[in-house]
């Protein structure tokens, strides 16, 4: 069935990527930063799937699955860090890591 061109999907992916990047850059809470990272990864996935559909190449979907697995692992480790930080009563504010301030 016909629908929007691949270009539309990739455009959505691009906007989603931009929003995710903005979130990484302006939020101070580590957890929200990780959530924004997820957004960026998903944007990449969307682009992969769309172009796989366009070029009839299954590798795109395979790659998307791999990305999903890696994203999950990364979230796991990241949240482990957050828990460890919290247990030592350290700040979760990203801005508190400012020892390189010149």
């Amino acid at each position: 069935m016909s629908g929007p061109d691949v270009a539309w999907y990739v455009a959505v992916a691009a906007v989603l990527f931009g929003i995710g990047a903005l979130g990484v850059l302006i939020r101070r809470n580590t957890l929200v930063v990780l959530l924004s990272l997820e957004l960026m990864l998903n944007a990449g996935n969307l682009a992969l799937i769309a172009l796989a559909r366009h070029w009839h190449n299954g590798a795109g979907q395979i790659f998307a699955l791999a990305v999903m697995a890696v994203a999950a692992s990364e979230v796991c480790v990241g949240l482990g860090l957050v828990v460890a930080l919290n247990r030592r009563n350290l700040s979760l504010d990203v801005d508190s890591l400012s020892e390189l301030k010149g």
């Binding site: 990047a21 990484v24 850059l25 990203v94 801005d95 400012s98 020892e99 301030k101 010149g102």
Partner: protein, 641 residues
Amino acid sequence: MTGGSWLCLLAPLGGTILITLLGTRIPRVAAGWIATTSVFVAFGGAIWACLGVHSRPSPPPPGFEPFGFHPMPRGEITTAWTWLQSGNFHAGLQLLVDPLSTVMMLIVSGVGGLIVLYSIGYMDGDDEERRYFAYISFFVFSMLLLVEGGNLLLLLVGWGLVGLSSYLLIGFWHERPSAVQAAKKAFVMNAVGDATMALAFFILIAHTHSLSFGSAFSVHLSSTAVNLVALGLLGGAVAKSAQIPLQTWLPDAMEGPTPVSALIHAATMVTAGVYLIARTHPIFEQARTIELIAAGTGALTLLVAGLIALVQVDIKRVIAYSTMSQIGYMFLGAGVGAYANGMFHLLTHAFFKALLFMAAGLAIHALAGEQDIRNMRGLGRLMPFTKWCFLAGALALVGIPPFSGFFSKDSIVASTINIGWYGWIFWACGIAGAFLTGLYTFRLWFLVFPGEPSPFVREHHHRHGRLEGSLTMLVPVGILAVLTTIGGWLQWSPRWHPFTDWLEPAARTLPAAVPTNTQEYYTSAATVLAGLAGIAIAWAIYSERTIKIPAAPFWRRTLECKFYVDELYDAVFYRPGAAIANGLRREFEEPVVLQAGPDLGETTLEAGGFVRRIQTGLLRTYVLFLAAGAAGVVLAFLIAK
């Protein structure tokens, strides 16, 4: 012959180096004897060279001269090696041995040797005697280089070195601020002359590609060029010989030790200007106007110096102004074209002026450094030898026969008669100068020597054993007194003139400057009468006190301030120069140049502080830079597409 010239040149240099290297290992008086020996060895070399020149065959008869003069008659150039080479221009380390240079070599090394011998006694006891003798040997070497140089470049080297030695020796007693300032003044004024000479040389090189005496004068230059060259050479001569307008350094140069005044500022260095004119006379003859300007300068100087000498109270300054005046006579002679007469007066002047200075030095030494003649009355009773030697020198200076000055001065004045209407003006100046010379010289003699010794003299006079001074001081004075008395008999222009003949190949007298015998006799009579009149008036004023000097405060003040020339130079040259320098320092050097360093530092610090704000230390900032970099890279790829 050439061996003699090299020996003459290098012996004093060897003396200097030896004294410098031996340093404090030798006793002070040994330095003096090394110096004296080296200068007398130079004298021996000069005699050898002179004999060699004498034995050369005489030049071809006058008909055979393609350019109007023979380029190198009776002379020989000996070259050690090529010193400077640039394009067509070569300058070798050349010495010229010809009649003119041998005359100067004999004067410099002979009179110089006597004066260095005298210094051994005069400078005895000074802490820095060795330095003195090193300097004075170096001076003799430089002067010999000047007169022996085979091209104008070596002459200029000698010229500069002589100025340097003069500076070193005037400022010898460097703890005295007045001596240091006098040395600086002498050097700066000489530098003005050096600059004009260098410019003249540049023009010469540009036109003739050579500075060698053999070839530089064979090319005919355009009228402007030759006038400029002559003017530049005249500037150098005027500076070195302390003629107007560059004369103010010579009286101040009396701050140096008396032997220095005798050697440098009477007998040799200040006469280098006359030598230069005689040596480069082909150029001056092509620029006749400039040559006559030289004569006019000489005439003016001899009058002005004579006037100023009338009011001086320092014994050495009187003699210094008299030197200035006598060199004026030499310039007059060389300027009108009577080169041999000028050189003859140079010779006799070396004798009697050195004698006068050295006799004055005996008096100063005996009075433990006193130089004011108002305190010195009656010295003759205690120092008869000095008195008679000084009298001989004074009579020679005034030009009374049979002393030497008579023969040389009169021939100069006589040679001005036939050159034109202005010759009579020069003649009148010469006669008036003779009158002034008699007046100031015998003012000096009558104030110092005859009569009862003053209280000051009685109190301060001390003897050297039974003699008036040490032997090393008395012997040269005696020798010079003899030379002063009989030396003039070498030449009496109307009758016999071996000196002029000797110099003929190198510096022929211009026909216009040769007087007839009648003119010669009249002139001699006039100068002698003028001189005797001056002596008589001095006797009347200062000895018998029958005439009072008129008060005339304005004239007295003018003369005492040396016609305000020093003040004029101060206002015209020094004040604006100092003001400009201070202004530059205030406006430019301090705010801009010196601030540049601190400003640069501050700017760097500010820039650093500004850039430092990027280092926020926040993680987000670094991610931002990551993202911006990624955007940039993608942009680059897009553009490449």
